[in-house]
């Protein structure tokens, strides 16, 4: 099929339009993710406020929390941040910056 000058120009215009539009493709993708995320967030807050799903809304009111911290015979009877808690529920952190510096030394660039 032979293309006329006019239709060729029209096709060029359309293609330029697409090319310009797509400059924002990544931004567009992120924007659509946020609305998608918004729906999930909304559902989370709805469940929190729904007494048929969650009878209690504060952690300290959870009867199983009261049981585990029970001062007489609870598993964590010395309370939050107590001795047993520190043994099982708390941790320490590890400086990983040297590994990153080694990479930077090889010439790689990162954002921070």
């Amino acid at each position: 099929m032979k293309m006329k000058r006019r239709s060729f120009l029209k096709a060029c215009g359309v293609m330029t339009g697409y090319a310009v539009l797509s400059m924002n493709i990544a931004t567009e993708a992120i924007a659509s993710v946020m609305s998608f995320v918004g729906l999930r967030q909304k559902s989370v807050y709805a469940a929190d406020a729904n007494s048929k799903i969650y009878k209690y809304r504060k952690s300290q009111n959870n009867p199983m929390i009261a049981k585990i911290y029970n001062k007489k015979n609870g598993f964590l009877h010395d309370g939050p941040c107590g001795h047993k808690s520190h043994e099982l529920l708390h941790t320490h952190y590890i400086d990983r910056s040297a590994k990153l510096s080694a990479l930077k030394g090889k010439g790689y660039k990162f954002n921070f």
Partner: protein, 420 residues
């Protein structure tokens, strides 16, 4: 390799004692990469980079990658895959009569799982999720949400201690950072190690539930802890890294034996032939199963903060908080700050950051000694765990062939420009 809910997975379960820093959790298929740069846009650390003139991307080194998987969920070509999957090992354990398999699903899983079975975005399927876990053969349906409540008790108490000890010798510094998000924790350890004293010493909810299953749970159910195999079910890829941290062995065993994400759970339910949509709503098993609304909002950015404030307000003021909704800290994107007036105490200054680029701004403030806050919550994934790298994909991103074609045309233009 195996396709699971639109994402390719390598069938690789790291052996005990493996160094998590050497494992690739997120990887790029260079044949599928079209160099569109969508991953670049969403990567906070710059770990995913263009490696040649065609713009083909690669994760330069696992050390620089926080394993958040935002590149994966935003790639329009499905070119990014997961390097670790415990699915096969887990199927074996579920069959083994000598192993007591414990499920530990995170809050956000119940807001994403339904999407894999045709439900609308965000549909709550908590009851069906518990029923499905029982059908799959899990011996105990315990829940990370219970541990989220426990985290609030521990982390809230730690905050109150830190506030009270200011001015004393050896006082721990303020602000206190939350420690629930594994991407953020690795980020702090790698890029801001000088701020480690500001991190809450509390493990994340799953980090707490793992050892509790093998101590308290074992005791309550009369099970030998040796037989217990704990399965963390997360909306997250970075939790796979956290699960194999060598220091998490406080129960005397590995605290977390396997970690899968929402997509993998959906795959397992489908592979087992379970009719998910017609399951009844079931409750988790008691003792380590019951939870509150404060626990479920951990899935949203600002949720840990709101849940902690529901405790801190009552502890500090000695009064009851009538309306538990503290909407000012709820965060969709960016940085959110608030002054919470607490009677009989004063003002608690808080900040919530969604995404690591925003986290870095708050970290720089703390580093400069200019941070006015008491408590800072950070979530690596924009919007929080509900948008985690292990959640079902947004169909919009891959569905539009038209947009992919446009990106390809655009790429050719760019390549030409580089060569000219």
């Amino acid at each position: 390799m195996r396709l699971i809910e639109g994402v390719m997975y390598r069938n690789y379960a790291p052996p005990k004692g493996a160094d998590p820093d050497r494992i690739t959790f997120v990887m790029v298929d260079e044949d599928k990469c079209q160099g569109c740069g969508a991953c670049d846009e969403v990567c906070a650390t710059g770990a995913i980079q263009s490696i040649n003139d065609d713009g083909i991307h690669r994760i330069v080194d696992p050390v620089a990658c926080m394993n958040c998987g935002q590149c994966l969920t935003n790639c329009p070509y499905g070119a990014i895959s997961e390097g670790v999957s415990f699915v096969d090992e887990l199927f074996e354990k579920l069959k083994d009569p000598d192993t007591v398999v414990v499920s530990m699903p995170a809050p956000s899983v119940r807001y994403g799982l339904g999407e894999c079975f045709g439900a609308a975005t965000g549909t709550y399927v908590g009851g069906k999720m518990h029923a499905a876990l029982r059908k799959l053969g899990f011996n105990y349906i315990w829940d990370t949400e219970f541990a989220a409540d426990l985290t609030i008790m521990e982390e809230g108490t730690e905050l109150i201690h830190r506030v009270k000890e200011q001015g004393q010798k050896d006082a721990r510094p303020l602000p206190q950072f939350t420690s629930c998000c594994p991407g953020w924790i690795k980020f702090a350890e790698t890029y801001y190690p000088d701020l480690m004293p500001n991190l809450s010493s509390c493990k994340s909810p799953i980090g707490m539930l793992g050892p509790l299953c093998k101590t308290y749970g074992a005791k309550e159910t009369g099970t030998s802890p040796k037989k217990i195999y704990t399965v963390s079910i997360m909306p997250c890829i970075a939790k796979k890294y956290e699960g194999i941290r060598p220091e998490l062995t406080d129960s005397g065993f590995s605290d977390i034996d396997a970690t899968i994400n929402t997509r993998e759970l959906a795959y397992m339910i489908k592979a087992a032939g379970i009719d998910f949509n017609n399951l009844p709503d079931e409750d988790p098993d008691p003792v380590l199963g019951e939870s509150t609304g404060a626990a479920t909002i951990f899935g949203n950015s600002g949720g840990v903060m709101e849940a902690a404030l529901r405790l801190a307000y009552e502890e500090l003021s000695g009064e009851k908080l009538k309306n538990p909704e503290i909407k000012v800290v709820r965060t969709h994107e960016g940085i959110n700050t608030a002054d919470i007036k607490v009677p009989n105490f004063g003002v608690v200054k808080v900040a919530v950051a969604s995404g690591l680029k925003n986290a870095a701004k708050l970290c720089d403030e703390v580093r400069a000694g200019k941070s006015p806050y008491h408590f800072i919550e950070i979530m690596t994934c924009p919007g929080g765990c509900v948008n985690g790298g292990g959640q079902p994909l947004d169909p919009e991103i891959q569905a539009s062939l038209f947009r992919s074609t446009v990106a390809q045309i655009n790429k050719r233009f760019r390549v030409r420009k580089i060569k000219a």
